[in-house]
């Protein structure tokens, strides 16, 4: 019996039995190279692409008329743009977490989900970047945010977390891209070697950087990958910490709370894992990858969602308790306004989505039910959007001076831009699964020894 408390015997394996090194390579590369593109791919891509066109239309309208087309007004100067920015960037964090932190913790089960989770990170960061870029009003002058020597006596405000965001997010995007690409190199070489058409052989060959799989290649690869993982780990935490500072360093009731940094980081992981599940569940079904993305992966991710969901719930509880305990009329008013004010629906919907729904994951039956998991993850995705809506809108619409209170609602251009970025995300994701191996081939090969394991009932070492 091997290390019983690590994994109870009888739990699903991380790779289905009976796989060999070549069957793993064949199965993953064939999705890209050989197999007929499923009809679902065309449908999904068409919908995503259409939505992306909606985004471009919405951006065109915005640039033509100005940010006035959005629902922003004087107390609510931050509306959908910041909500969606935080939502997308949070989703992106799961990719880095799965790839880097689980790698450092030597969690082998990450292997089959890390590649597309990393891709998800990149695409989510791209979607997130759209919003602040447009929110500055004149995106063509966005480079003014960078501290560069200029003749306008223009220096960015280094005390503003919005500027820290510029550095944190751009660094994060760069490192995530490098991390993803470095991880892809050996697989691009596999694709190059297996591709039949000369065109694809050349394209994959260029990006494979002349990888031959020599021992020195592997040695340097391992070092580089581990270093990037070490670099990405603090980055993922710093990015969402800085995002939380965007709110917390101000003095707006409901924003100025010391719990914000860890609570935002946990929320990001929470929403990110929910999104990974939302993508993984249909993908494994459509492409028949149940052997690689097993129930074990789904169960483990469900546990991470439950754990981070509890941390987020702790954050909500502390906010409410301290609003009362502070004995500060503005803090108390903020909490009361959230629960009973004009946006009370969003607060209670948030509690339902983010606090109550994940509690079902305590039950093993629910963790074993793919359909229910999918449903819970969708609800969590909605809940995390609502969380940012509650934070941004309730606090801004009613702050210190009742005479300046106002209400807020997103316009059609707010919604079209938001839905449109989902199109951008979908489009990139569909292109990725069509042209690149969505599961790391060579890392899956290292799991092949697990596949030799006997019938269920025997534990596996991990």
């Amino acid at each position: 019996m091997s290390q019983p408390t690590q994994q109870p015997p009888g739990s699903p394996p991380i790779i289905a039995p009976g796989h060999t090194i070549s069957s793993v390579s064949d199965k993953i590369t064939s999705i890209v190279l050989k197999r007929h593109t499923p009809r679902g791919w065309y449908v999904g891509f068409a919908i995503s692409f259409a939505l992306m066109m909606v985004m471009l239309g919405s951006i065109a309208k915005l640039l033509f008329e100005g940010v006035g087309v959005w629902g922003l007004n004087v107390p609510v100067g931050w509306g959908f743009a910041i909500i969606n920015f935080v939502w997308w960037i949070g989703i992106g964090h799961a990719g880095t977490l799965i790839s880097a932190i689980l790698l450092l913790f030597r969690q082998e089960w990450r292997t089959s989900i890390n590649r597309f989770a990393e891709a998800m990170t990149l695409f989510a960061v791209a979607c997130a970047g759209v919003f602040p870029l447009l929110h500055v009003g004149r995106p063509w002058l966005a480079y003014w945010l960078l501290p560069y020597p200029n003749t306008m006596s223009l220096t960015p405000q280094f005390r503003s977390p919005l500027l820290w965001d510029v550095f944190a997010v751009s660094t994060y995007a760069t490192v995530s891209l490098l991390f993803w690409y470095i991880g892809l190199v050996p697989d691009l070489a596999s694709l190059r070697d297996r591709a039949k058409s000369r065109f694809f052989k050349t394209v994959y060959g260029i990006f494979a950087l002349g990888w031959r799989g020599a021992a020195t290649h592997w040695e340097r690869y391992e070092t580089a990958y581990l270093l990037l993982a070490g670099l990405a780990t603090p980055l993922v935490i710093s990015v969402h910490t800085v995002v939380s500072f965007d709110f917390a360093v101000s003095i707006i009731p409901g924003w100025h709370a010391t719990i914000f940094p860890p609570y935002f980081v946990a929320g990001a992981i929470y929403s990110g894992f929910a999104m990974v599940m939302t993508l993984a569940i249909p993908l494994r079904k459509v492409y028949g990858l149940q052997d690689f993305i097993t129930m074990r992966h789904l169960q483990n991710m469900a546990k991470v969602i439950l754990a981070t969901g509890l941390i987020v719930a702790y954050g909500y509880a502390m906010e409410v308790f301290f609003a009362w305990y502070s004995a500060n009329p503005y803090e108390r008013g903020m909490a009361w306004n959230r629960m009973t004010g004009p946006f009370a629906w969003s607060y209670w919907a948030l509690m339902l989505c983010n606090v109550i729904t994940p509690q079902f994951l305590w039950l093993k039956k629910v963790r074993n039910n793919v359909a229910l998991l999918f449903l819970i993850c969708l609800i969590v995705n909605v809940g995390m959007w609502l969380e940012r809506f509650v934070i941004v809108v309730t606090s801004l619409s009613r702050d210190f001076l009742p005479s300046s209170w106002d209400t807020y609602a997103g316009t059609v251009w707010d919604w079209s831009l938001y839905v449109g970025t989902m199109g951008l995300f979908g489009t990139l994701l569909f292109l990725f699964i069509r042209f690149l191996p969505m599961i790391s081939i060579f890392e899956m090969r290292t799991l092949v020894p697990h596949s030799k394991q006997k019938a269920p009932g025997e534990g596996e070492a991990s």
């Binding site: 290390q3 408390t5 502390m318």
Partner: protein, 391 residues
Amino acid sequence: MSATTPIASDIARMQRASFLVAAVAGVLLLIGALVDFQRFLQAYLVGYLMWLGPTLGSLAIVMLHNMTGGKWGFAIRRLLEAGMRNVPLMAVLFLPLLLGVTQLYEWAHVEHDPIIEAKRAYLNVPFFALRALIFFAVWYGLSTAMLRLAEKYDRTLSIPALRKLKGYSGLGLVAYVMTMSFASFDWGMSLEPHWFSTIYGVHFVVGQVLSTLCLAIVAASRLKRVEPFSRWLERSHFHDLGNLLLAFVMLWAYISFSQFLIIWSGNLPEETPWYLNRLGFGWQTFAMILVLGHFAAPFVILLLRRSKRNARVLATLAMALFALRFVDYYWLLAPAFHHGEFHPSWMDAVAPIGVGALWMGMFLRNTRGRPLVSLQDSKLLQQLEEAPSAG
């Protein structure tokens, strides 16, 4: 393990020494309490909360390990279980604080303060006592349940027992974090009843886990010097524990710094006094010691692979860090009593030593008559069967 093995006599010797120190410190503190009861309470609170750390931290790490697994946990599991058994001791040691609540806490004797009046529904003596009772009931219930379930699993190695252990550990962690957060608000934060910070509870929880890891590493490295443990405890055990220590050092720094940055940046008159009291009047020395000794130095040392794999180096670091945990608690709590001054008392030093010696003596007593290693660790069973390999 018979009583004749060297480790057992070693433990018995240390236990006697601990109780002796505890007795001397107890007499001194009793004299101190008779001379100035309020000053005694202030010193005692810091010492008490410092040693509540490894008691509840042990519980937390055991529950965490039940859920995550990992061989690092098997190395220290029995030690943590001995620490958990000190919950009743800490409950008894809480009594002086309960007796002195009106002298210790401003909110319990100040009247006509509008802010305190607005919190009266929470900050009042009967509810304070009731909450303390609930906290100790939860902690005692959790620690006995964990010990029983783990023991049952050790005996049977059955899957239902393991499932139960894991499930209860999940719920138990939730209960621990909630109760400890509110305990920290009651016992620590309410010393300055106008001030509040939503991250305060997290800071305490992280600090408790950190204290526990330090002590566990020290104890494990002592075990490593003795046969048969020297064969079982490998470098990789310490490497993993070192990584965990590094993670919690960083988490502690992250939380402390975030709180500081947010309050500094907001610059609100209801929040900044807390830091102003702690960054002037001599207290800034402690703050600097914490920044350098509790974060910068261990961070750099723990980044190096060599220092994590060397049990002796790691244990020295853990010992120093545990001493700095006292500075953290002192800096966190004591400035509330000094009202913009710094006037230490000899009791500030004697109280943590006294409570600590008693805690240590009981801890050592708890280890006796029980195996010091966990049978759940299958690698151990293998090693016991195979020929001894060079450590």
